[in-house]
Amino acid sequence: MVIFDIFTTLLQGVKYTLLVSFAAFFLGALIAVPVTAARRSRYAFVRGIGTAYVELLRGIPPLPWLFIVFFGLPSFGVILPPIQSGILVFGLVGGAYLTEIYRSGFRAVPNGQVEAGEALGVSRFYIYVKILIPQAVRTMLPLAIAYLIGLLKDSAIVSIVGVQDISALSLVENRSSSDGLLVFIVASAMYLILSVPIGIFGRWLGVRLTGRRKRTPEPATVTEAVMIR
């Protein structure tokens, strides 16, 4: 059957779509840690560096960034293969978005929590580890998951530099197929099949985290997360 053939062909691309989006997500989650620390610094200069990073990476679309990395860096002798370029670009951009998500998580924790920790002589490090982060995560996780879904879809851009992901394979398949519409419908459905479970997982996580601990602000919902983007 035609649709089955199309499906098995495009299935080859799923691993690259997943690889680029998940690797970029984890890279971004790591990058966002020092950038968030910079943005929350007591020194205006350090805050400025953090803000500059976020604005620069968010203010330019991923596609030009990808061109700069893939076509531009080789002139400085830095040659990255397509997949690595895609992961790097979406990791750097994701670092900016996830910084804002981390920040909103910390801001959702009432200031009295830090004061109580300080008044008890708890060090800055343990205030973060034992008090702030466990509470901020409740706000951050649903937002981060919503961002991951966005990343999964936006990762289609890496097909332009030659990553054989779902979108790239659908273009190839379109040329050999008599039914172009069907090819792209199958490709679209594959993105949907990948992103819906992540969304369900995110909602489940949100409900679980809201569970029994009351008296702190409710975590933002996935809908609000989409608005942030």
């Binding site: 009295g112 920790g117 008044a119 708890v122 034992k130 466990p134 009351k214």
Partner: protein, 258 residues
């Protein structure tokens, strides 16, 4: 100026504390000396700077100028510089604080709330800290709530857990910032009962409060603060029954007529 005669070297001494917010003074040169075992109630209208002054004592609020000395420890301030963290930690270990909004950690159970600083700040073992926490919960009548989260407890219970948490570091003085203002009278009474008990056991306490009966019955001294300064202070009966200043009279009249 202190209304009572003090020893040469008081246990707690705040000297000429000034706090400015965006250039506007909120606390205008308050000085206060507190002896060991003394209970001082601070009363006054909202926005008078009484809570801000209280927060200066453990440096949750850095004073714009002035010094706080507790048991010989003081934190040096630079004008724009940050206080020395070693001195700050030493000072805070001697001072416990109870907040209006309790500020319990909602991600930790009652017993974990009381254990946290014992382990992280004092370096006690978890076993010791847990034993201490359970004993303190028993003391405030809440041993049965040990494994409950703050969100599962009533406001009065939460505040009593918060008091137990403050006591866990064996502080030399306890600061209370309107501890019953977020509670209805019945739950407030639970908390005041615990505080009364601590006062009778000789704990040094500074209590910012609107509870006039607590100020009169439990405090050794009442200080009335308005517009960032101490207007008058002294024996509770005298200040509350026969206030000398018109500002104090006006405030107490408003409180009594409510």
């Amino acid at each position: 100026m202190p209304g009572t005669v003090q020893n040469a070297s008081p246990f707690l001494e705040a000297e000429d504390i000034w706090v400015e917010f965006n250039g506007k003074p909120a606390v205008k040169g308050i000085s206060m000396r507190v002896d060991r075992g003394e209970v001082v109630a601070i009363i006054g209208p909202s926005g008078s700077g009484k809570s801000t002054f209280l927060r200066c004592i453990n440096h949750l609020q850095a004073p714009t100028s002035g010094t706080v000395k507790i048991d010989g420890i003081s934190v040096r301030e630079g004008k724009g510089g940050h206080p020395k963290s070693k001195e700050l930690t030493q000072l805070r270990r001697r001072v416990g604080m109870v907040f209006q909004q309790f500020n319990l950690f909602p991600n930790l159970t009652a017993v974990e709330n009381i254990m946290l600083a014992q382990v992280q700040a004092l370096g006690r073992t978890k076993k010791d800290a847990r034993g201490r926490a359970l004993a303190l919960l028993d003391r405030v009548g809440l041993e049965h709530r040990a494994n409950h989260y703050p969100g599962e407890c009533s406001g009065g219970q939460q505040q009593r857990i918060a008091i137990a948490r403050a006591l866990a570091l064996d502080p030399m003085v306890l600061l209370f910032d309107e501890p019953t203002s977020a509670l209805d009278p019945e739950l407030g009474a639970e908390v005041l009962g615990v505080m009364k008990e601590m006062a009778s056991e000789g704990m040094t306490m500074i209590v910012v409060t609107h509870e006039m009966s607590f100020a009169e019955d439990v405090a050794d001294r009442v200080a009335f603060i308005a517009d960032g300064a101490i207007v008058e202070q002294g024996n509770p009966k005298e200040v509350l029954r026969k206030p000398q200043h018109s500002r104090t009279q006006r405030f107490l009249k408003a409180v009594l007529e409510r």
